[in-house]
Amino acid sequence: MKEQLQMIADEAMAKMEEVQDIKSLEEIRVLFLGKKGKLTGILKGMGTLSAQERPIIGQMANDVRNRLEDAIQKTRSRLAKKEREERMARETIDVTMPGTVIPRGKKHPLTLVLDEIKEVFIGMGYEIAEGPEVELDYYNFEALNIPKNHPARDEQDTFYINDKVVLRTQTSSVQVRVMEKKKPPIKIICPGRVYRSDAVDATHSPVFSQVEGLVVDKGITMGDLIGTLQVFAKSLFGENTNIRLRPHHFPFTEPSAEVDVSCWSCGGKGCRICRNEGWIEILGSGMVHPKVLQNCGIDPKVYSGFAFGLGVERTAMGRFNIDDLRLLYENDIRFLKQF
């Protein structure tokens, strides 16, 4: 019987060496360990054994069973692994094929720039104010120290609705509306569309966007203006950006300054984009003119303030290297997709 057990074990082990799939392995298991299997068959013959032999053979049979079960288990995992690997090999895909896209639109480049500007100033404690585009002459001009027949009105080539109403030429009109309603401290930016009767070409548009900033409080200085613009320029054009202020004239600020940033393309060495100057003009600014404060019911002896304004189109064109302003209002999707 011993020999028989040994034979069964050897036979089973040999079959397991050769088995190729889990189904055949199962057949082997049934053949040897099943209810009608060979090992079971042998154990049924145990009754004929002597009491002395019985425990020895029983022990042996158990050992064989355990060995076989263990071997089946191992073979099974070997086969499973093999099958998994074969399956995975069949499943291999070309990962260089294009991905499945959930279509998403894109923001217009002007919005991208506007959003960045808003973020910078909100971070500095500003609020966003809005006002009408079709605006009273008073808010667009008179309150801003540009009375009727002032030469600055010519410079701005205004669209008129009638002699009291214009299309605003600057978002500064919103400043006045805010100052009339709100007491200092005031810290706002006013983004919005403005209008000037410039014929359409690569650098001009009769409709464009501006962001105006205004701070009014006790003890606001020109140094504060410069510091604020430095932070702004660095946030928008990069940490290495410098600014340069040049005296200029605006009727609603005094002192007034035009502000250049160091060229974003060449960093100030001079290139085609900055016309070899190393600097690019991006905004106008200054200390709020005492007359403007007065017009809004704010005492210029107690309060001072600064204001600045920049063209969004110009900034976007600089940021994205766009050479023709008309592209921004043409809305060719092949253009819009690039941002």
Partner: protein
């Protein structure tokens, strides 16, 4: 724009630094240098040559061979120019010379070697304005006998010209003297005031020849006249012509050139009349009469009116004051006695008159900015001096000076503390006082009282003094600070602004590209939109001075611009497009000055799109904004939309807008494809009804039971109505109603459709049993049958 030849500035101030540094320094002190044009920049190795002999080229009819003396050698030059001859002095570009057109090399012309090129003014990049004696065609020939072999750059006085951008508040800087003064203060150099000495030698006194009356002292504060006899009209000397040309003015004759020269140098426009044509020898400064006309120097007849100031003689206007002279008193070759005018006219009056008659001259553009009353006499004397020096005539002794309104100098107390507080600086008072002295303020150091010079109309208050200090201190030396010590404010967006951002984000998520379009449009778009003549949207805000009809009204609808966007892309063979824009429409309000500016969300889709895509985009937006009480209803009342494929969106009973397919006729009018879809929605009611409060509801603990139903129903009954009945009958346990099939066709009788739903039922507190659900289902079916005539389909 003011062009200043560098030598002219150097008459009044030393400029010892490199011109690039000069430009930078002046830019930072407020006189922005736009460019430095160097007339001789691209010319090198071009010298004065003398033609010693000329002979015909043996092999070319049109070429001649010249021997040219260039001082240290004699060169053989082949030329095709017919206008030069032996003895002529000409500009010769030597081998290796650089010209704007390229470098000159020794070359062979039909077998004969040529060691240079004779130049025309075009080849030297000059114009006839700069060299009026140049021939129209051919090589330039010198007439002023320059030294043979000398560099033509020096001979022709080719020099750098600085282009300044001058702001409108600084009329004094529209002159060489003004710019020299700024230069002197900026560079810390001495400003040399011009010395004006007039040699008077005519007969009698000016007042013997002419009288001046000013009828409108408010419009003319000063009028000075001088008389010149024995006038000899001829070209002005070359140096004067060159300076005028370099400064951008065309030389005419000595008298006109002198008036222009003085204007450029001193900033005071001048005019010369032929005194014989000034009837009665009387100058009357008055307003024009109704229906008066004058023919101006440019030969055009101008209609005048009583709002305009004119210079008149006894009988008629001889000039429009400060704007342009009249043809009737023009200086001509036969003029032998003339009247020189130097006057101060009111800036507004000149500006308005110039605008009305349509003239903007060098003179009027200066008067418009407000000139210095005190400059009138120095300027007329400078002109007299030049007339004398140039031998253009004899200056009669005396000036007729009528000055009813005197200059009122502005006095301001210097408060250095105020200035430092405004700038955020610690500049000392002495520095400021010295500065104001250099700027020709009169300074009382005891009282700190400053009197602004009369040529500085921009100095009106303390802030203006602060600007003077800041710009010469250099703005960029002011220490940058960040609102130190001020109470901090909170930066934030309003609810409306945050909502708008959400709309933006949701549109992007739906695959839409953002557009920007103009806010004004053409009134013709309403016909293209097929709107009837009395349609409300035709009531517009109109621009009185538009850039053309296409931009003449503020839009009352954004549909045309969105169709325009679609047309642009479609015409460029882009197969599909999905767009949105957030912008305003402008709706007039009866009795109000300003219109209602309504913020609008516009969506446009074409190619691979249908109504339900559009609706889905909007539904998802409303879902994101957590807006309830939404209704989409079919409408056929908007002429721009397809009557069978359009819905009106209402939220809480308020109409928000339309969505649907563009009417085929409208699509055709705009060259858009059929199956173009547009939505126009008011943003405000969406924001008003958005619910941003969020509250957690417990997840369901008991299973749902679902049932499918299919019914036959009349085709014209809306799904919305069916669902209404289902929900009403379904009661509390009805959780979801999902449409999964609508079918019309073979298996369905004509005029009917088959509609199928999956309904889900659930209770929050127990597991539903079949009987319960069955009972509700029966109620639903009963409702569908009685209310809508539906029959259940097996």
């Amino acid at each position: 724009m003011m062009k200043a030849p560098i030598s002219w500035l150097k008459d009044f101030v030393d400029i010892k630094i490199d011109l690039k540094d000069y430009a930078h320094a002046l830019t930072l002190s407020g006189s922005k240098v736009e460019a430095i044009e160097d007339l001789g920049e691209s010319i090198e190795k071009v010298v004065v040559g003398k033609i010693l002999s000329m002979e015909q080229h043996p092999d070319a009819d049109k070429l001649r061979i010249a021997q040219v003396d260039v001082g240290n050698e004699i060169l053989q030059v082949v030329t095709g120019a017919p206008n030069v001859n032996t003895g002529d002095l000409i500009p010769l570009a030597l081998p290796g010379a650089k010209l704007p057109g390229g470098t000159i090399k020794v070359s062979k012309l039909r077998g004969v070697e040529s060691y240079g090129m004779m130049c025309s003014i075009e080849e030297l990049n000059l114009t006839k304005d700069y060299l009026p004696d140049a021939p129209d065609d051919g090589v330039y020939v010198f007439h002023n006998n320059p030294a043979v072999g000398s560099d033509v750059k020096e001979t022709l006085g080719l020099e750098p010209v600085v282009d300044f951008e001058i702001t409108s508040n600084r009329p004094d800087c529209f002159s060489m003297i003004g710019l020299a003064r700024e230069t002197a203060v900026t560079l810390k150099e001495q400003f040399r005031k011009p010395e004006i000495v007039v040699k008077e030698e005519g007969n009698g006194k000016a007042s013997d020849y002419v009288s001046v009356e000013i009828n409108n002292p408010d419009l003319c504060s000063r009028y000075a006249a001088r008389v010149v006899t024995n006038v000899k009209i001829e070209p002005s000397p070359a140096w004067m012509q060159r300076r005028l040309a370099a400064a951008g003015m065309r030389p005419i004759n000595n008298i006109v050139d002198i008036t222009n020269y003085v204007m450029l140098e001193m900033g005071q426009p001048m005019h010369a009349f032929d005194l014989k044509c000034v009837q009665g020898g009387r100058i009357i400064v008055r307003t024009a009469t109704e229906n008066e006309t004058i023919t101006t120097l440019d030969g055009q007849e101008r209609q005048l009116n009583p709002s305009m100031l004119v210079i008149s003689d006894e009988n008629r206007a001889v000039a429009i004051a400060g704007v342009m002279g009249g043809e009737n008193s023009e200086v001509t070759d036969s003029t032998d006695i003339l009247l020189l005018e130097s006057a101060n006219f009111d800036s507004k009056s000149v500006r308005l008159t110039g605008k009305k008659v349509g003239i903007r001259s060098e003179a009027s553009s200066r008067f418009e900015k407000g000139l210095d009353v005190e400059n009138v006499i120095p300027a007329i004397n400078r002109a007299a001096q030049l007339i004398e020096e140039l031998g253009a005539g004899n200056v009669v002794p005396g000036i007729v000076d009528c000055n009813p309104v005197k200059a009122k100098p502005v006095k301001l107390q210097l408060d250095a503390g105020f200035i430092n507080r405004l700038l955020g600086t610690y500049i000392d008072t002495e520095w400021m006082l010295d500065l104001f002295e250099k700027l020709e303020f009169s300074v009382d150091r005891k009282t700190m009282m400053l009197t602004a010079p009369t040529f500085r109309p921009d100095i009106q208050g303390e802030a203006d003094l602060a600007e003077e200090v800041a710009r010469f201190y250099d703005y960029n030396n002011i220490p940058a600070t960040l609102l130190q010590g001020r109470a901090s404010t909170m930066g934030r967006k309003t609810v409306g602004q945050r909502m708008e951002e959400l709309i933006h984000q949701q549109m992007l998520s739906s695959g839409l590209y953002e557009t920007y379009t103009y806010s004004f449009t053409s009134p013709k778009v309403f016909d293209k939109l097929c709107l009837p003549p009395d349609h409300i949207l035709r009531n517009t805000v109109n621009i009185t001075n538009p850039l053309g009809e296409d931009f003449s009204i503020m839009r009352t609808t954004t549909i045309p611009e969105m169709l325009e966007v679609i047309r642009t892309n479609y015409s460029r063979k882009v197969e599909e497009g999905r767009f949105f824009e957030i912008s305003y429409v402008y709706l007039p309000i009866e009795g109000e000055l300003l219109p209602d500016e309504k913020k609008t969300l516009t969506i446009g889709l074409y190619g691979n799109a249908d109504f339900y895509l559009m609706k889905g985009i909007i539904e998802q937006l409303l879902e994101q904004m957590n807006i309830h009480d939404i209704d989409f209803s079919p409408v056929a009342d908007h002429p721009a939309f397809h009557p069978g494929k359009t819905a009106k969106l209402t939220i809480a009973g308020v109409t928000v807008g339309y969505l649907g397919e563009v009417h085929p006729e409208v699509a055709e009018n705009f060259d858009c494809p059929l199956n173009t879809f547009i939505a126009v929605l008011d943003i405000q009611p969406m924001i008003d009804n958005a619910d941003m409060t969020r509250e957690y509801k417990a997840l369901p603990r008991y299973p749902a039971v679902s049932r499918d139903i299919a019914m036959l129903i009349r085709n014209d009954i809306l799904v919305k109505e069916i669902e209404g009945v289902i929900r009403q009958r379904g009661g509390k346990i009805l959780e979801g109603v999902r449409l999964f099939d609508v079918y019309r066709g073979d298996q369905v009788p004509a005029g009917m459709k088959s509609v199928a739903y999956t309904l889900t039922f659930r209770s929050a507190d127990r597991t539903l049993v079949d009987e319960e659900v069955n009972k509700v289902m029966e109620k639903i079916l009963e409702g569908l049958k009685t209310n809508l005539g539906a029959t259940l389909r097996e």
